[in-house]
Symmetry: C2
Subunit: 449 residues, 2 copies
C-alpha cells in the first residue's frame, strides 16, 4: 500500500473541501500529515518521527502486530452480526467480567464511547423510570444529541442546559471550591451532589443517573478526592438513581495500579453501569456497556429488541481479546505504574524550577501539568500552554495537547508502551522551552487573561 497518494498541500485542499470543517485538525495552522506509526512513534510523509504523548486510543501502541494478526485471522474466517451465536462475544464478555466487580456481569457491545453512554442513559431511564441526570461541570460524554445534553463542555456552547440536566461542581482539589487543604474534600464534594439532588427533588423531579468520568479528562486531567464516588453513590441511590462510571478515556489499565479508574476510589465502591470505549479496540471501533443483572433485566422487560449492527461482531471481539492479551503479556499496567511515576516525578522536579507550573497531577499514564500565570491566584496560563504545545511539535516533534476549562493543562495519555526515555525526553524539552520563554520574559507578555 502506498504510504502517500497526494502531496501534503493537495491532501489539505481536499480535506478542506470534502470533510466537514467542524472536524478539526490538530495544529490547524500547520497540520501534521502522518503516514505510518508504530508503538508510541508516528512518522510523517518525509519519514520524520513524532513522539506521541496523547493517543490513548492506540492503547497497546500504534499498529501492534498481535492486534493486526488477530483481526486478519478473524476477518478471513467470519464477521457476521451478533444475532448468530458465536464464541468470541461470550469469551470476550467473560474476560471483561473478570476485570470488574462481580455485580457488573452483563454486557452490551457497541461501536463507540458515545454509543455506550447513550445506551447507559437508556438503561438508567428504563430501570429507574426517572428522567433527570446529574453530571460534573466541564464534563464531556460524547458527540450524540443525548450526550451533548449531558455535557456542560458542549451544551454551554450550543443549545444550553436542558431542564432535566443538573451540573454538580467538578471535584478539582487544585482550583475547585474545596482544595487540598480541606480536611475531607471527597465528602465535601459529595455533599454538593447531595444538596443538588435535594434541590432537584424539591422541584418534583427525580434523577435517573449520576454520570461521571472516573478521572475527568476534558475537565483538566482531574484526580478525584478519595471517598467521593462512594458517598455520591449513596446519595444517588437513595434518590432512586444509578451511578454511571464513564471509563471511555480511563479504562483498561491506564492508571496502572487498577484496571478501571473507578477502582482508585476503593474496593467498597461499585458503579451500577460502566461505559468503556477508546482504548478497547486499539483504534478499531469497539465500545461496551457493563451493568448489573437487575438493570439489564429492566431493559429486557420492555420487550423491545436492542440491535446494534456492528456491535460485538466476531472481528470486534477478536480485536478486543487481543488487546487484553497484549496488556497482560507486555505488563503494560506495570509499565504505566513505572513510567507514569517517573514522568510525574520529573515534572514535579520541573515544577520546582518553573513558577508557571502550578500543579502536577496524575496516576499511571494519565498525567496533567497545569500552567498558571500566578501560583497564588492560579490564573490559567492558556496562551503559554498553547505555545508550549506548538513549540514541542515544531522544535522537538513531540505531540501533546491541552485540556481543562481554560486549556491550560498539558495532558499526557500516551500509548501504554511509553518508555522511561520518552518521559525523560518530553520533560527535557518542556524544561528547555519554559527556560527559554522565561529568559525572554515571553510568558507574561503573551498572556492577556
Amino acid at each position: 500500500m502506498a504510504e502517500e497518494r497526494f502531496r501534503k498541500e493537495e491532501t489539505l485542499e481536499m480535506r478542506q473541501r470534502l470533510i466537514g470543517q467542524s472536524c478539526r485538525l490538530f495544529y490547524s495552522e500547520d497540520p501534521v500529515k502522518i503516514v505510518k506509526a508504530r508503538g508510541q512513534y508516528m512518522f510523517d510523509e518525509n519519514g520524520k518521527r513524532y513522539l506521541d504523548c496523547i493517543s490513548n486510543v492506540q492503547h497497546v501502541g500504534h499498529c501492534h502486530p498481535a492486534i493486526t494478526k488477530a483481526a486478519t485471522a478473524q476477518m478471513d474466517l467470519l464477521n457476521a452480526n451478533s444475532r448468530f451465536l458465536h464464541d468470541n462475544i461470550v469469551l470476550y464478555a467473560d474476560r471483561l467480567a473478570a476485570t470488574l466487580p462481580k455485580k457488573l456481569s452483563v454486557f452490551y457491545f457497541v461501536n463507540s464511547g458515545s454509543e455506550a453512554n447513550d445506551l447507559a442513559l437508556r438503561l438508567a431511564e428504563q430501570y429507574t423510570r426517572h428522567e433527570d441526570v446529574v453530571v460534573l461541570d466541564h464534563a464531556y460524554h460524547g458527540h450524540l444529541k443525548s450526550l451533548i445534553d449531558i455535557s456542560p463542555y458542549k451544551f454551554r456552547k450550543l443549545a444550553g442546559q436542558k431542564e432535566w440536566v443538573h451540573v454538580a461542581p467538578l471535584p478539582d482539589t487544585y482550583r475547585g471550591i474545596y482544595r487540598e487543604e480541606h480536611p475531607n474534600p471527597g465528602q465535601a464534594y459529595a455533599d454538593t451532589v447531595k444538596h443538588l439532588i435535594e434541590e432537584i427533588n424539591k422541584k418534583g423531579r427525580k434523577i435517573a443517573a449520576f454520570f461521571a468520568e472516573s478521572l475527568p479528562s476534558v475537565g483538566g486531567q482531574i484526580i478525584l478526592p478519595q471517598g467521593y464516588f462512594s458517598k455520591v453513590a449513596e446519595h444517588v441511590r437513595s434518590a432512586g438513581g444509578v451511578f454511571v462510571a464513564d471509563e471511555v478515556q480511563t479504562g483498561f489499565g491506564r492508571t496502572g495500579t487498577h484496571f478501571w479508574a473507578f477502582q482508585l476510589q476503593g474496593e467498597d465502591f461499585c458503579p451500577d453501569i460502566v461505559t468503556m470505549g477508546k482504548p478497547m479496540g486499539n483504534g478499531h471501533p469497539l465500545a461496551c456497556v457493563a451493568t448489573t443483572v437487575e438493570i439489564a433485566g429492566a431493559f429486557t422487560a420492555n420487550g423491545v429488541e436492542y440491535f446494534n449492527t456492528f456491535g460485538g461482531t466476531p472481528v470486534s471481539c477478536a480485536i478486543g481479546l487481543a488487546v487484553l492479551d497484549v496488556i497482560e503479556k507486555e505488563d503494560l499496567r506495570g509499565n504505566a505504574i513505572r513510567v507514569g511515576a517517573h514522568l510525574k516525578d520529573l515534572l514535579k522536579k520541573l515544577q520546582q524550577r518553573h513558577e508557571i507550573i502550578g500543579d502536577v497531577r496524575g496516576v499511571g499514564l494519565f498525567v496533567g501539568l497545569e500552567l498558571v500565570i500566578d501560583r497564588r491566584t492560579k490564573t490559567p496560563a492558556t496562551k503559554t500552554a498553547a505555545l508550549v504545545v506548538k513549540r514541542l511539535k515544531e522544535e522537538d516533534r513531540i505531540c501533546v495537547s491541552t485540556d481543562g476549562p481554560w486549556e491550560s493543562v498539558l495532558k499526557f495519555k500516551p500509548p501504554m508502551c511509553f518508555s522511561m526515555e520518552d518521559a525523560e525526553l518530553v520533560v527535557r524539552c518542556i524544561d528547555r522551552i519554559l527556560t527559554d520563554m522565561e529568559a525572554k520574559n515571553l510568558k507574561l507578555e503573551n498572556e492577556d487573561i
Copy 2:
C-alpha cells in the same frame, strides 16, 4: 484461530448469562452457531452450509479477501485518528462524492448508521434552527435515544411519540391509503406530508427535517411511488426544512440500476442530507453523512468541534475504498440487476400458484414477498411467514427473515454476490414448503389474526 472454543450449549449458556437479553438471537428457540462464512454462504460448527439471504452488511460477500487484504495492510501501517492529515479520508470522500449529485459534497465519517442519523438530526437543526421532524409510519432510523424518538417502529413500544415528531403515512401502494390503482400515488402521498406540515405550522411549530429511508425496510420492503420524494422535498423546503435520505440499508448499489436508492426517484431529485451505513464497510463499523456546503457551513458556524474518535480513520477508509473497488471490479450492481430480476420473476411465477402470496416487490437485491391470508382483505399471514422462515432454516438451511408492521413480508437483501442458482434454490424451497402447507391445509389453521 480455533473455529470453536466452546460447545454450542456452553456458548448459549454464556450468551444468556453475559450478554443483555435485549440483544436477541436469530431463531431464538434454536439459534444457529456460525463459525465461518464466505460470499453468500455461512457454515455452522458442524460444517453445515447455510445460504444467507439477509446479510446486507456483508455487501460484497462474507470475508471477501480483497477487503481483508486492504484492512490488514492499513492496520499494519497506520490507524491514527482523523485529527491528523491523511490521504485515505480525502480519497474516500472524493470517491463517494463521485457517486452522488454534485450538491452533496461534504462528508462526515462515523461508526454506525445510528451515529450518522443522529448527526443528520444535529445538522438539520443547526441549519434550519427548527426542531420538528416528520417521519414515515413504521420507520426505524436507529437505536440511539434521539433516533428512537423519530422511529415509530420503536417509540410506539417505548416512550411514545414526542411533541416534535410527526408521522406521515407510509407510501405503501400495496396496502396503504393510496394503492396501485390510484392515478398518481406519488403525488397523493406527498400531499399527506404537505397537509401534515400545514397542521404542524398551525400549531406554531416548524420542521427541521423530513427523514425517510429511500426504500422503507422495516416498514416492509416498500418501493416508493414515483414522484414522491421530489414533491415531498418541495413541501419540506418551502416549510424551511431539509430532506434527509436514509440510505443505511439501501445504498452502495443494492438496487442495481442506481448506486443510491433515492436515485430511483428521478434525476431531478436530490436530498439535502444522505446517511449511509450497513454495507459501507462490509461488516467493519463504518458509516457516513453526506451533505451540502450550506448545511455543513451552518454546522461549522456554531464554532464547536465535531470529533468522532474512530470516524474516518485510515483503516476504516481503506476498507471503505476496498468495498467500492470490489463493487466495481465484480460488477455487483450488474449482478444485482440480473439476479434480482430473476428472483423477482421466479417469485411472481410462484405467486400465480400460491394464493397466500399477496405481493412480490423489489428492485435489485432488495426484494419482499408479502404473505396474506386473503388477497382481497390483505390480512397479513404473520404465522405462515414465521413458519416459512423456520422451515427454510430447518429443512433447507436457508436464512431469510420477516419485516413489515405485521412481520408478514419475507425479505431478501443478500450479499450482492448472490447467484442465479441461489435465487432458484430459495424459490424452489419456498414453493415446496407452501405446497406442503397448502396440502395439509396448515396455512389457515395456523392463523388467528
